[in-house]
């Protein structure tokens, strides 16, 4: 679902995206969200739904 027009939009906005900059984010994004965080999220959403009900 890559959008080939994105780079042009970023350039038009004045950004010069670098491979080094992207690499930093690639490393961050490669880390899956921890199972404990997913469980915390599930609990929080259930809790706020319960409070809202």
């Amino acid at each position: 679902m890559t959008d080939p027009t994105l780079d042009e939009v970023l350039r038009a906005a004045g950004f010069e995206v670098t491979e080094a900059g992207r690499r930093r984010w690639r490393a961050e994004l490669s880390r899956p969200i921890p199972a404990a965080a997913l469980q915390d999220a599930k609990d929080l959403l259930a809790r706020v739904r319960g409070r809202a009900a």
């Binding site: 679902m1 027009t5 994105l6 939009v9 970023l10 906005a13 969200i33 929080l44």
Partner: protein, 472 residues
């Protein structure tokens, strides 16, 4: 079905609209991975309400027009009461901030990273373990590379400098020799800043002096803060004045804007040497001791800061870091070297990542709307102005406008070069009195002493044409 990797809250969208490169690079990476960025509708509304510049709004809306960005409504297409209340409850947890409440709900629902330039606001509503991607610019002068900052000097300096009776009225800056990064021996390493070199004299008043005795004090009134930071101490300090660009990094183009008197990014004065303190001449001390004395003055913050330096085997890593950050390069200084005013010394080695040289602007070729190219030269050993190339790229619209204005007063009737100019470049050229000095970047020198692929960098108002010499 969308695959949302990250959710941008209002502050992250504003970071993008305000030109913060990290915000764009993250979107670019997510796009390259074939994934998408979620933009909660409440965050978009918050960001649009905060934007005052039409150009910024236009760029943000253009981004949202790409398939990479997905605007997320409050709940599903026909939101249920539960969905709306859920966002409401998370908003309450976020202290009533709907922007954050909606972004937290979206990140948790889509199991996506939360992206923000204001993590404190989000962290009160997010589960404590949820990953947050922080877009705030990294403070350049912190030790963010995991390298050991140079240790402080021994408690007792081995040499006591002689006291002097008065501060010198003028100190010529010591200069570095271009070269390869030295790694053998005891060296200190610093980032090379892309700005204007200045010596600060603080003795009640502040006086900032550039190369060629140019008085820079009135150009940078905000740097008067240095007097208060020194708390009454008398000092002569060496450093570089830089302007921060849209990405938070030093930008020579932004500094040029400031020199022209147009609004530019924030100004910083990065200190890297201490030459005199309270009547004592420190120039005779080794660099490591002068640096230690400078660090102990504890001049940190805005607009004057003392970046760290590194020792040991940190040089190559620092050069890599400079490359990644888009900085000019690295300066290596022998830890034992005294300060030699006005001398270009082999004990200071500059390692630029891009070749930059000074040229004299001696002519131009008009283009359809402005300037098509500049004809530039340097002086040889016999003081003859020698043509070294034509520069036709790298200009901003502001720079071209500024040059056109300056050229009006400098037009001359004849070719000022003492040697030949290639006929195709001389044809239709208009000539100038050779007084303007500029920096250009270039790939290399040709065997016949011409610049390969020169590109405009900016005017050097602190240099005179007679100083611009062909390399020997």
């Amino acid at each position: 079905m969308s695959d949302i990797a990250a959710v941008y809250d209002g502050s992250a969208l504003l970071a993008y609209a305000h030109g913060q490169i990290a915000a764009a690079e993250l979107i670019s990476e997510i796009n390259a991975e074939g994934r998408q960025v979620g933009v909660p509708a409440a965050c978009l509304a918050t960001a649009l309400a905060a934007l005052t510049d039409d150009w910024d709004v236009k760029q943000l809306m253009a981004l949202l027009g790409t398939r990479t960005m997905v605007v997320l409504p409050l709940g599903t297409e026909q939101p249920t009461e539960d969905e709306l209340r859920q966002v409401g409850e998370l908003t309450r947890l976020a202290g009533g901030d709907l922007d954050v409440g909606h972004a937290v709900a979206a990140a948790l629902t889509h199991r996506a990273y939360y992206v923000t330039a204001n993590p404190k606001a989000a962290e009160v509503a997010l589960p404590p373990t949820w990953p947050v991607l922080d877009l705030r610019p990294v403070r350049l002068v912190s030790d963010r590379f995991g390298l050991a900052v140079a240790p402080t000097a021994e408690p007792t300096p081995p040499e006591t400098p002689p006291p002097d009776t008065e501060m010198p009225a003028h100190v010529e800056p010591m200069l570095a020799t271009p070269g390869e990064l030295p790694t053998e021996g005891d060296w200190g390493y610093e980032f090379k800043w892309d700005g204007v070199r200045a010596i600060a004299h603080v003795d009640g008043d502040l006086r900032l002096v550039g190369r060629n005795h140019t008085d820079l004090t009135a150009t940078y009134p905000e740097l008067d803060a240095l007097r208060a930071m020194l708390a009454g101490r008398r000092a002569v300090l060496d450093g570089e004045i830089v302007a921060l660009g849209r990405n938070g990094l030093p930008s020579f183009a932004a500094l040029q804007q400031r020199i022209r008197g147009t609004p530019a990014g924030p100004i910083r004065f990065y200190l890297f040497d201490l030459l005199h303190l309270d009547g004592t001449d420190l120039t005779v001390l080794p660099y490591a001791e002068r640096r230690d004395a400078l660090q102990r003055l504890d001049i940190t913050g805005d607009p004057v800061d003392t970046p760290p330096y590194w020792t040991g085997d940190a040089g190559p890593a620092l050069l890599d870091a400079a490359r990644e950050l888009g900085l000019e390069g690295v300066i290596a200084k022998r830890l034992t070297s005294p300060y030699r005013p006005g001398r270009r010394s082999p004990t200071w080695v500059k390692v630029p990542l891009t070749n930059v040289t000074e040229v004299v602007v001696a002519g131009f070729k008009p283009g359809r709307r402005s300037i098509a190219s500049l004809l530039v030269g340097k002086y040889d050993e016999q003081d003859r102005l020698v043509y070294v190339g034509q520069v036709s790229t790298g200009f901003t619209a502001d720079a071209l406008r500024d040059l056109r204005e300056r050229f009006e007063a400098l037009r001359g009737p004849r070719d000022p070069f003492d040697g030949p100019v290639p006929r195709q470049h001389a044809r239709h050229a208009e000539w100038l009195r050779p007084v303007l000095v500029a920096d250009v970047t270039f790939r290399s020198w040709t065997p016949d002493a011409k610049l390969r692929q020169p590109a405009w960098k900016g005017l050097r108002v602190d240099r005179t044409a007679a100083e611009v010499r062909l390399p020997s």
